[in-house]
Amino acid sequence: MSAVATGPAAGLPRWAVLALLPGLNLLAAFAVSGLVVVLIGENPWQVVRILVWGAFGFEEAIGYTLFYATNFIFTGLAVAVAFHCGLFNIGGEGQAYVGGLGVALVCLHLDFLPFALIVPAAVAGAALFGAAWAFVPAWLQARRGSHIVITTIMFNFIAASVMVYLLVNVMARPGSMEPETRGFAPHAYLPPMHEALGAVGIEIAASPLNLSFPWALLCAAGVWLFLWHTRAGYRLRAAGASPAAALYGGISPPRQVLVAMLVSGALAGFMSLNELMGVQHRLVLEFTAGYGFAGIAVALMGRGHPAGVVLASVLFGALYQGGAELAFEVPRITRDMVVVIQGLVILFAGALEFMFVPALRAALLRRVGG
């Protein structure tokens, strides 16, 4: 492994780029968040204490933290896979939303299937619908050169309109004004972890954490294997790093765009398994609640590596869960505080990624050189 990084952080040791730099960026985001808390007139240290306690302080909290983390893992992996192909998939939100449609169709219309078949069918439905929603922008990028950032943004809005239409006019529970479907059959629920583990004799506190979580971890491992240990992953990364070189190597970059976006859309679609089959047990409006966008923060924070994505997801899951406790304990601070922190993390870890490079270079290289 080379010890020295290239690119904008050229010259810095790799450990500094992989660990120190993201750490500093995160600290900066937290510092500014602290300022916002001060602006509101609360004590930031108190807030941190409640956040940490709320996220990890008791067994049930950990379950919730990991439940939220599950959503982030899926959407974070979705963004990361597209990243490796040089694509910015901002459409995770819409892909997850439409993926939920796939899940709901399976759970509502194939409910004659037993649990052992309906779950894989729903997984396939989520993947298929999520991938399908990613396919059109991908195809337009690959074949017509339409900028995928813009088209995926547009597709998020189109998805929102389509889902409202379906939920209000087509799929709504008969006789109800609520824009939601009827409930899934109980055998189409994903069992929560406390039940699943309880069945094998391990007792944990009850929480919405369900079988989607191990599936998310499996997906993370699968993405790692796919990107770095398969020929398909090699092709995808080559096309992302240098389309001209990929073409020279017999790899079709447009084809890789399609592959990357289909995988990305499927992963985003999986998010709906956790929300719909794990908790809501029906299709509701806007269940994606910004997780698709947050996936960008997660992928940036995790530097596009599945292990990093899992770690960043736990961090964001903790913020969500801690933020809920915080809103309860300190009513003047709403859960939107988490959105603020998210925005700041994207800003500092993403757009201002290399802000600390000159300072780090001065600090580290001077010591090494002199």
Partner: protein
């Protein structure tokens, strides 16, 4: 029915026009701006909060513009000074603005994220043209004068005046020439002895000002205060209109009017049957701006060629 629909089209297009022109400055100088939404939202909140405290719409406007420019400068700091990813930066600002306005709104006003209802004198009120009331009931020109032209607030007229003004700046002034050059080939600007970063920062100031006015319009003219997430995707529609108008002022304005018309029609279509067609899903009409933009981007109706250096950070070695 035509005049009222056109009337509300005008009103609904105004924030789109201002935001699209804002995006035009940024993007023609080479900086992608998907953060129009966040700047508008931040401005809407700042304007409403300030107007609520001071009772002056002008102070509100100043605050709205100030916050929007500040956000634009953060975008510049990330994208120009640190050559960060422009899409990521814009997205971060959108998320930040949506979180901050909600958090601060609740903490400061304790009304579930709204700012207090503003009295008339703290808002931009409708300007009645001379004789408008008398002419309003006359068919034809009278209605056009009395209802369509007269009876809007100052910011509406400002938005439509801004279109030729921006065109003039872009095509007839030194600043505009350099700005367009920076978006096409920043190296040429540098070689001509004009520093690119300063130019792009100035373009972003213009973006900030126009977005600030757009946001202020939402909370001080269209509504009487700030409501959570009141931009509701208007920043993205404006971006779509900018692309639809191929990054030119007048076509962008026409796209905004088209999208505004769709919005106005959608509101009226709700639950009504069109003879021979049946009920048109209002969601379809609402999604049309996005669908049309995708179709345009796909090259099926003309071709939208962006400024060549758009999104590419300018690297100058030292």
């Amino acid at each position: 029915m035509a005049v009222p629909v056109l009337d509300s089209t005008l009103r609904l297009s105004v924030p789109l026009i201002l935001a699209a022109l804002a995006g035009l400055f940024s993007e023609r100088s080479g900086i992608i701006d998907i953060g129009l939404e966040g700047k508008m939202l931040g401005a809407a909140f700042a304007a409403a909060a300030t107007a609520a405290l001071t009772g002056s719409p002008w102070a509100g406007l100043a605050a709205g513009v100030g916050v929007s420019v500040l956000l634009a400068m953060v975008h510049g700091y990330a994208c120009i000074t640190h050559r960060g990813n422009q899409v990521v930066s814009g997205l971060a600002l959108n998320i930040l603005a949506s979180g901050l306005t909600a958090v601060l709104g609740v903490a400061w006003f304790a009304q579930g994220g709204r700012t207090p209802q503003l009295p008339g004198e703290a808002r931009f009120l409708l300007l009645e043209w001379p004789g408008a009331a008398a002419l309003r009931d006359m068919p034809g020109l009278g209605a056009v004068y009395g209802e369509l032209l007269s009876g809007h607030n100052l910011l509406v007229y400002l938005a439509f005046l801004a279109v030729p003004a921006v065109g003039w700046v872009l095509y007839r002034t030194r600043f505009g020439l350099r700005l367009r050059a920076a978006g096409e080939n920043p190296h040429s600007v540098d070689a001509a002895g004009v520093p690119v970063p300063g130019l792009r920062y100035r373009a972003l100031v213009c973006t900030g000002v126009l977005c600030g006015v757009a946001g202020t319009y939402l909370s001080l003219a269209q509504s009487a205060g700030f409501i959570n997430d009141m931009t509701a995707g208007k920043g993205y529609i404006a971006l779509a209109a900018l692309i639809f108008g191929k990054w030119r002022p007048v076509p962008a304005m026409l796209a905004c009017l088209l999208f505004g018309l769709l919005d106005a029609v959608a509101i009226r279509l709700q639950g009504t049957d069109i003879p021979g067609v049946g009920e048109v899903p209002v969601q379809l009409v609402q999604a049309l701006p996005y669908i049309l933009t995708v179709v345009l981007l796909a090259g099926f109706i003309g071709r939208a060629v962006p400024p060549r250096a758009l999104g590419v950070p300018y690297v100058k070695e030292r």
